[in-house]
Structure formats: structure tokens, C-alpha cells
């Protein structure tokens, strides 16, 4: 399981990329994407990316 970013809602601020402990998020085109293979959902803790994302319902479970 992993998280994914709803591209149409993403404001491309880059905070999630900055916070991800596994470097699983990167920029693609005008928005950001999560590389599912690298995402560990922060091992059960509250996911960091979700915590910092400013737009609601944009970082969701894949």
C-alpha cells in the first residue's frame, strides 16, 4: 500500500517531497507524484506528507 497525490488538486508546493523520509515523492511535470514502491506510509505513524499538505483530500491512500 502507498499514498498517492491527486494531481488536479496538487498546488505543487513541494512540502511533501521535502518531508518524505524515504524520498518517495518527486516532481513530475507540473505536480508531484509518489513512487509507490518506496512509500512505507511512514511505518504506521501519521504520514508526514499528509501532515504538511495544505490542500485537503489531495494526499490519499492509493
Amino acid at each position: 500500500m502507498a499514498f498517492k497525490i491527486v494531481a488536479s488538486q496538487c498546488s505543487a508546493c513541494g512540502a511533501c517531497e521535502f518531508e518524505c523520509p524515504n524520498a518517495a515523492i518527486r516532481m513530475k511535470g507540473d505536480t508531484f507524484i509518489v513512487e509507490a514502491a518506496k512509500c512505507t506510509e511512514c511505518d504506521g505513524d501519521t504520514p508526514r506528507c499528509l501532515g504538511v499538505c495544505p490542500v485537503e483530500n489531495t494526499l490519499i491512500k492509493a
Binding site: S11, A12, C13, G14, A15, E19, V52, P54, V55
Partner: protein, 487 residues
Amino acid sequence: MILFEALTGAAGAKEKTLETSSGCSSSACGSSSGPDDLAPEIWAKVKDHPCYSEEAHHYFARMHVAVAPACNIQCNYCNRKYDCANESRPGVVSERLTPEQGAKKVLAVAASVPQLSVLGIAGPGDALYDWRKTRATFDAVVKDLPDIKLCISSNGLALPDHVDEIVAMNIDHVTITINMIDPEIGAKIYPWIFYQHARYTGLEASRLLHERQMLGLDMLVARGVLVKVNSVLIPGVNDAHLVEVNREVKKRGAFLHNVMPLISDPAHGTHFGLTGQRGPTAQELKIVQDACEGGAKLMRHCRQCRADAVGMLGEDRGQEFTLDKLPETVAIDFAKRDAYRSQIEAKRELHAFARMAVKPAAETALARAPLTVAVATKGDGLINQHFGHAKEFLIYRADGAGVKFLGARKIADQYCQGGLGEDSSLAGIITLLSDVDVLLCAKIGGCPKGELKAAGIEPSDDYAHEFIEPSIAALYAKRGAEIPADA
């Protein structure tokens, strides 16, 4: 009776100004900060910064580059998907720049705007949380433009972590947005903060934010960095509280306090906009600013410019410098920049002379009731604007201590539309100026003149094309002489 004429000569008042000075028209504002009332080393730092020195803001331009999109808090007045109007940060709707693009834009502007003296990074998110991008931009610019001043604006949460680097990079101006020192009030403004990889909400979030802001402020002051505090005035939430913020930040050594009105509109999709939290009226803002006098020095000339704004404080030339319009290579003419600086010094002396004349004239008025005056001007410190063409009015107060600039008030639509007066505009103007006693302009038509008079605002073109402050001082003195001493 008009002393300034003897000093500058009538020609001085009508002198055509530099082609480049087309922005803000106030010729002195705030608790006039000139060389006399500041320590020399501080004056040296602020004299060319248009935000930190009200005198400098007539001559110098600043620009912001929107290179820092990531933010670590959420404020109820900000919608990250919309250009935030309050903290002068565009969001994603307008042009966001990479550090390289930002640097290129700065150099292009410096090449064609010789009065550019400050580069600020204010967003669109938080300049310190997104430090990598802020630092990269500054590094790139300083290489080619070593004389530019660097400036940062931030919510302060990440500030303590970056003070060392701020000092190392010679960033000697930092603005922190402090809307509260009481977490209970903060909880109404900040739904959440993100700190040390975790989200905090409610009282705990505001408590943390407050502690980090105070710590950051203390650290900067200890290292000799000039700190300006921005506060967003939110009626019903922190209006009574801001005077406490003012006293606290002054105690801790902040250089300037800028109280700005909340800009709130449901169309922005911000929490405050959608829940009907309104911004303050011009009069409410003035009341809070006046209450703060005597504490931390107030900035009165803030124009709440956009994070990608370019130009003197009253204008925005950003559209001339969008990415697609930037030239491939840029050559900066340093000789032109230096020449401009010399011209500035000459102009500054002229204005200083004009302002010197103000004090003696006001003194003769003794302890009369203060006079609130609105001025229509299009620049250079002169009363040179036709009432019908004014897009904003500069508000001054004259009393026994002298003439003081209180702020600028924009109007929605100018009165004169295509040669005819608009009644609805006039009604709006009258509301905006309801606390004004006298309105000075270069010219005014009979109809608006009558309406203003009926509303208790006395219009006058007696001082058309004269310098602003000396005219107000003369008017005030004249009033004092006309009223019997025991009235």
C-alpha cells in the same frame, strides 16, 4: 506665511521629477524616521530600504520573487490554491519561479530599474521553511548584484533553525508575521502547524508557534538583524490584542511594526472569506494603529504588495518582467545605478528642506484640536492630483506636534469616469473619508465639492501643486489664527 517657498523657491515645488519616480506619492510618513532620530549604523541599514524607511520608499524599489512555495502552517486567511492577498504571496495561480528563474528575473529588473535596492523572498509559502530554494536564489543573485539588499518574510516557525545562515549571508532585514502573543487568540487564526515532521492543531499549535516566533525574534535581535513585525488586523479576533503584540515585540527589540488590514473575500476560498470574517474599515485600522503609537515604531506606508511585485511601493510593474519577457542575457549598467543614487541624494535634500519648514509652522498653532487631512496626489510629495482622477488619498494629521502621515486609502472607482462624475463612487469616497476634516487637491468640480461639504469634509484647491506637509502645516496654522483663543 508659507516658509517653504523661501527655502525651495516656487520653481522647486513645480519641478518635474525623475521619470522613474511614479509610485507612492507620500512625501513623509510614519513617525518620521530620518537621520536625526536613528543611530547612525541603523540609519545606514535602512536608508535605502523602501519598507523599513518611509523616506526611502519615495526613491527606491523592491522586488519579490515567488520561489518558496512550501509552507509549514495554515492560516485562516490563506488559500494555498489562490494568490493570497494578505501576506503578499501569490499561490499557484500566478507565476511561480525556480531559484534560477528567480535570479534571472532579478537581474533583468535590476538592469532596467536602477532604483531597485531590495530583493525580498516572502513566499508564496514560507521563505524559511523552504530555505533551500530561498538560499539558492540569494546565492545566485548576490554573485551578479553584490550591492542589493536581501530581505526575508516568514511566519517564524522555522526561523530559529536558520538564524546562523541568515547572518552569514548578510541578510540584515527579516520580517516575521506575528498576529498574536496569546495562543487562545492564535487558535482562531491558525488551524494547524507542521513542526518537526508532525501536525499540531488547536491551542498546542498556537503555543508552539508563539514560542518559536519569540525565540526567533530574540535570536535575530541578539545578532543585530533588523526585525519588522507584520500583523494582520482581524476585527473581532485580534483587534484589541494587537496593542499587546506591539508592546511585546518592542520590548524584545523589533525595529518596526506593520499593522495591515485583513483582506477577506469568499471568492478567495479562504476560511475567513467563506465564514464571513470581514476585514477592518479604514477607520478601524487607524484606531488600532493609533493605539499602538508609543510602543514599537509603526510602519504606515505598507501597500500589501504581491510576492511577485516589482517597483516602488505604490506601483507594480510585475507584468513587464514575466518569464516569457526576460531577455536571454542581461547586462547590468552599474554606472546607471550609481548615477541614480546621486540624483536621489539631491532630491532627498530638497524634500528634507520642505519638511523642515513644517515644524515651525505647526508650532504657531499651539494646542488646537488636531486636523485630519486627505490629500490627492500623483507623486513627488505635491498636491497635484485632480479630485476626480484620484485612485487613492493620503491621510495626514496635523496637531501641535507637527504633520504626520497616517496611511493611504484606496478607492474602488475614481469619481471621474469618462468625463462625467459617478455618484456611487462619490458615496464610497465619502464613507472612506468620513473621519477627514479637510480634503486638499489640485482641482475639484462644483458638484462633488458641494456633496463633500455637506458630508462635513471641506474640499480645497488653495494649495494646488504645493508640497504636501508644508501646505497642511500652513493650513493648520491659518485655522488656529482664525479661531479665537478661548473658543
